[in-house]
């Protein structure tokens, strides 16, 4: 649906309750709507083909006495985004939930119940998402009166209450620490025999409060370095997304050469991330040859990053207004040399991997989701493209220098882990292609950094999307009066993809759990004790390691 026809449809449906305005660029449409029609409008946007991206809640009581809430939708075919904005009075921050119809909005709503104290009427799972279990009720950290360094007293005797297990199932807890997870996250997997019948997720155990920190403590120019550290892999992605959102909000146009260098950094990041994932995926299915070899192939890229940015990862390169370091002719030859070597090696790896029947058996048909459901859950990146959803921010909403570059977007229809594996492998070659084109088309000189001399105007909105290796990263920024963002919302791709994991796990084998969760590219640990929850008897008992070993050796049923 094109922008004009969308506006017409909405105007007919909502009349005076709706105000349509242009965003920062023609690709951004801003709709202000009355709170009563908020849900209906969101559903209409979804029905019109909008992909739910994320919601942004903000505390604007000090300047207009209200809380703000924004739902963001992307119309990928037509290349524009819609920000559906509303506000609620400071006393009653209540909204109607859209999560029953748009499941991808579930976490957003739960997040703002925790962080801003909103109420979403009709949310199907109004449980804690982000705050710790012992966080006192009634304190919402993103509200402005709450200091950034608040540490409430902790409590020992509280735990997350899991969802009720389906009838006749046993709960297998995976996490918070598990050998195949790099970060703590807890999955309670409900199994009937070996088959997974459901899953509850409790994560956010290392929530660092970066948004609050950057809204209260540091200034615009320092945030890119903090943003980089949101992710251990996608440093450039978050720095670029943040910088672009500031640039959009403040109307800064950066030099073309800087845009090309950003593009090259983003693609080098994708190269090493996909090779890293391929290794981890091999490891998760017990195939360590792939792990060793793909990480060996990845290493020259890391060393290349060291020469480009000054350290092993793709950090410290992108700032507001451009980039910090240049790609000199010598580095250009260096990049081309490394790419040539990597291309040959990945070619060998691809031949060895794609025809291996043991990999077929472990990945084909595993974690299957039909295309319609992948769209309903707003899955992103290779996870979506492996399930037939043809989306890619680089092509649909071009940023940096992608509008000048030609590349293919691999899409697989198999709908399973195999699809995501093939998509990622093919994307490695596309990335190499993009870097080569970018090096050719890059303007030979020009400034790297556009100086921003003026004070950035306050209360402007900026949105930017960047295709990270795992999918689309969304940064939404509202500029503030104190040389720092008033609101900075980051949505990493795993935030969305992880919501779809319980659906991916459904009716799969428990043994496939690591590769299914690993296929979206996040991570877990089960060590010396296990908590057994009997779904029917509703009794709980903690087994010590010695007991488990005794049970295991005796092969008796607990």
């Amino acid at each position: 649906m094109t922008k004009d026809s969308l506006i017409r449809t909405l105007r007919d449906g909502f009349g005076p309750a709706l105000t349509v305005s242009e965003g920062a660029t023609p690709k951004r449409l801003v709709l202000d709507i009355d709170r009563t029609a908020f849900r209906a409008a969101a559903l209409k946007l979804r029905a019109a083909g909008g992909r739910y991206m994320v919601g942004v809640g903000s505390d604007e009581r000090d300047r207009r006495g209200a809380f703000g809430m924004i739902h963001l939708f992307a119309f990928d075919k037509d290349g524009f985004t819609v920000a559906l904005r509303t506000s609620a009075p400071a006393e009653t921050p209540e909204f109607d939930s859209i999560a029953p119809e748009i499941p991808a909005a579930g976490w957003t709503e739960r997040e703002y119940m925790d962080l801003l104290g909103f109420t979403f009427k009709g949310n199907p799972k109004p449980k804690k998402l982000i705050l710790a279990d012992d966080w006192p009720a009634g304190i919402h950290p993103l509200r402005k009166e709450v200091p950034y360094n608040l540490v409430p007293p902790s409590a020992e005797d509280v735990a997350y209450e899991l969802d009720e297990a389906p009838e006749g199932t046993t709960t297998v807890p995976i996490g918070p620490f598990h050998p195949s997870l790099h970060e703590p996250a807890h999955f309670a997997v409900y199994v009937d025999g070996e088959t997974i019948k459901g899953c509850d997720y409790r994560g956010f155990m290392t929530h660092r409060g970066i948004e609050k920190l950057c809204q209260t403590q540091v200034s615009y120019n320092e945030v890119p370095f903090v943003a980089e550290r949101i992710c251990g892999i996608c440093g450039s992605v978050h720095a670029a997304a943040y910088s672009q959102s500031v640039e959009e909000a403040a109307g800064i146009k950066i030099a073309r050469r800087a845009e090309f260098i950003r593009t090259i950094m983003l693609e080098i990041e994708r190269l090493h991330s996909h090779l890293l994932w391929l290794g981890v995926a091999g490891h998760l299915i017990g195939y360590d040859t792939i792990f060793m070899q793909s990480w060996r192939v990845r290493e020259p890229i890391m060393w290349l990053s060291e020469r480009l940015t000054g350290n092993r990862k793709t950090y410290g390169m992108i700032v507001i207004g451009g980039v910090r370091r240049d790609i000199t002719p010598a580095l250009r030859e260096d990049i081309l040399g490394v790419l040539k070597k990597v291309e040959t090696e990945v070619g060998g790896l691809k031949d060895a991997v794609l025809k291996d029947t043991s990999i077929h058996r472990r990945t084909k048909g595993v974690g299957f989701i039909p295309r319609e459901e992948a769209e309903a859950w707003s899955l992103l990146g290779p996870v979506a493209r492996g399930r037939g959803v043809d989306i890619d921010v680089r092509r649909d909403h071009p940023y940096a220098a992608y509008d000048e570059l030609s590349f293919d977007v691999p899409v697989m229809d198999s709908g399973d882990v195999w699809g995501t594996l093939v998509v990622r492998l093919l994307e490695i070659f596309e990335s190499i292609k993009i870097v080569r084109q970018a090096l050719d088309k890059m303007p030979s000189d020009g400034p790297l950094l556009t100086e921003v001399a003026d004070v950035l105007p306050a209360y402007r909105h900026g949105l930017s999307m960047v295709e990270a290796p795992r999918g689309e990263s969304v940064h939404y920024l509202i500029t503030g009066p104190e040389n720092r963002p008033e609101r900075w919302r980051v949505r990493a791709p795993t935030y969305t993809n992880l919501q779809g994991v319980p659906r991916m796990l459904l009716d799969n084998q428990l043994a496939d759990f690591p590769i299914i969760v690993g296929s979206i590219d996040p991570c877990f640990s089960c060590t010396d004790r296990v908590l057994v929850v009997d779904g029917r008897a509703r009794s709980r008992r903690v087994f010590a390691r010695s007991e488990i070993e005794a049970l295991g050796r005796g092969r008796r049923k607990p």
Binding site: P136, G138, N149, A155, Q293, K355
Partner: protein, 181 residues
């Protein structure tokens, strides 16, 4: 099918041979422009505090002991080696050294402290009027927020507004309850 694939895998493994470096016996030299630990040149530093002001990790502290002596203190334990300090230094007094083997049991090994003698005004004998806050004195607000130079640890504490007893008085305050009775 699987056999050809396996043969390819064997070749893939055999061809590169052993790639592991014999570290630390032989270490790979760092490339030009490497961002290692920042190093201050005290002869160049003018004590402007720009590095402290721009450090994203807030790991550089400036504090005036008296009008003539300014302490510039860098705690490497919090540093993320972004090189922002070296970028903003107007005197090029900071360089990112090639030093990266910084694992240590004693954090004093990776800290640097500069005691800078600030030139004073010949008329009044002071650097700056500390009462009327000028731009440089406002730097006291920045830098990392430790209580003292000696403690050098993040002292977590509830803030005044949210002292535990104040917390208890808020209407919605309720300790979470234990599940399962």
């Amino acid at each position: 099918m699987w056999l050809t694939s396996k043969i390819k895998q064997v070749l893939l493994v055999l061809k590169p041979g052993k790639v592991t470096l014999n570290y630390p016996a032989e270490s790979r030299p760092v490339p030009e422009g490497f961002r290692g630990q920042p190093a201050w040149d005290h002869t160049k530093c003018i004590g402007c505090g720009g590095c402290a002001n721009h450090c994203p990790a807030r790991t550089i502290l400036t504090r005036d002991l008296c009008p003539e002596i300014r302490i510039l203190f860098y705690d490497g334990a919090r540093c993320m080696y972004c090189g922002r300090c070296a970028d903003v230094c107007p005197e090029k007094a900071i360089v990112m050294s090639p030093e990266f083997e910084l694992a240590t049991g004693d954090r004093d090994d990776i800290t640097q402290s500069l005691e800078l003698f600030m030139l004073t005004c010949q008329r009044c004998g002071r650097c700056y009027d500390l009462e009327i806050k000028n731009a440089i004195d406002k730097l006291d607000l920045r830098g990392y927020r430790y209580d003292s130079l000696e403690a050098r640890t993040v002292i977590r504490r509830s803030t005044e507004r949210f002292a535990p007893d104040v917390l208890g008085e808020t209407e919605a305050y309720r300790r979470p309850e234990r599940i399962g009775g």
